[in-house]
């Protein structure tokens, strides 16, 4: 039964990668990466059962936490063009949100 779940998760990952590669806007990519992250969490959790040793869920737990931070960082970068306090919209002349493709 874990095999079924693994196959489903891998299939979803493939869809996410396809969306990630196709784009078209950067927000599609962020969405796909974020979803890919949660699918990795699930994959690691299920793989533990598949290999008969499910006590390594800490890795999945780390992903669940870090993935969120990564997404927030990406969005802050897009919105303000940087991570500092002085970075604001007028400062972000070269940031990708002026060229969404």
């Amino acid at each position: 039964m874990f095999i079924a779940a693994t196959v489903a998760i891998l299939l979803t990952m493939a869809f996410a990668i396809a969306r990630m590669c196709v784009g078209p806007t950067i927000y599609d990519r962020i969405l796909a990466v974020n979803m890919f992250g949660t699918k990795t969490v699930l994959l690691i959790a299920v793989l533990g059962y598949l290999s008969g040793r499910p006590d390594f869920l800490d890795i999945a737990l780390v992903y669940a936490l870090i993935n969120f931070i990564g997404t927030i960082a990406v969005l802050k970068f897009l919105r303000y063009g940087g991570f500092g306090d002085t970075h604001d919209m007028e400062d972000s002349a070269g940031s990708p949100d002026t060229e969404p493709r």
């Binding site: 290999s51 008969g52 040793r53 390594f56």
Partner: protein
């Protein structure tokens, strides 16, 4: 064909390694070169970890239920290499930032051109 299947991991490692290598030598953008180096680095990690795997073995954390463990030595080497890798990536990033401040570009050939003029 069985030869290929039994060495599949190593072959993919070679493909990834060459992809990273190609980015490093063919692309002139410095940020992309760093990403290429990262790909190369991950492929080396995979090579090491693949060599340490034993079929039927389990993760090298002792437990009474298991007797066969995968080789822990590559894990130790790669574990530290990953953290060192991110530190060197940061150093490369800092250098790129300084290069951009000095030359106004992060394309390698433009930097060479500016140096040639000076």
């Amino acid at each position: 064909m069985t030869e290929v299947m039994s060495h599949f991991n190593y072959l993919v490692v070679v493909v990834l390694m060459m992809t990273g290598f190609y980015i490093v030598i063919a692309k002139s953008n410095l940020v992309k070169k760093v990403v290429g180096l990262n790909i190369f680095q991950v492929s080396v990690f995979l090579l090491y970890i693949s060599m340490g795997k034993i079929f039927g073995g389990t993760a090298p954390i002792l437990d009474d239920r298991f007797t066969v463990y995968s080789n822990p030595l590559p894990h130790v080497l790669i574990l530290t290499a990953i953290v060192v890798g991110v530190a060197t990536t940061a150093l490369a990033g800092a250098l790129i930032v300084r290069v951009h401040e000095a030359y106004g570009t992060i394309e390698e050939d433009e930097i060479h051109r500016q140096d040639g003029d000076a």
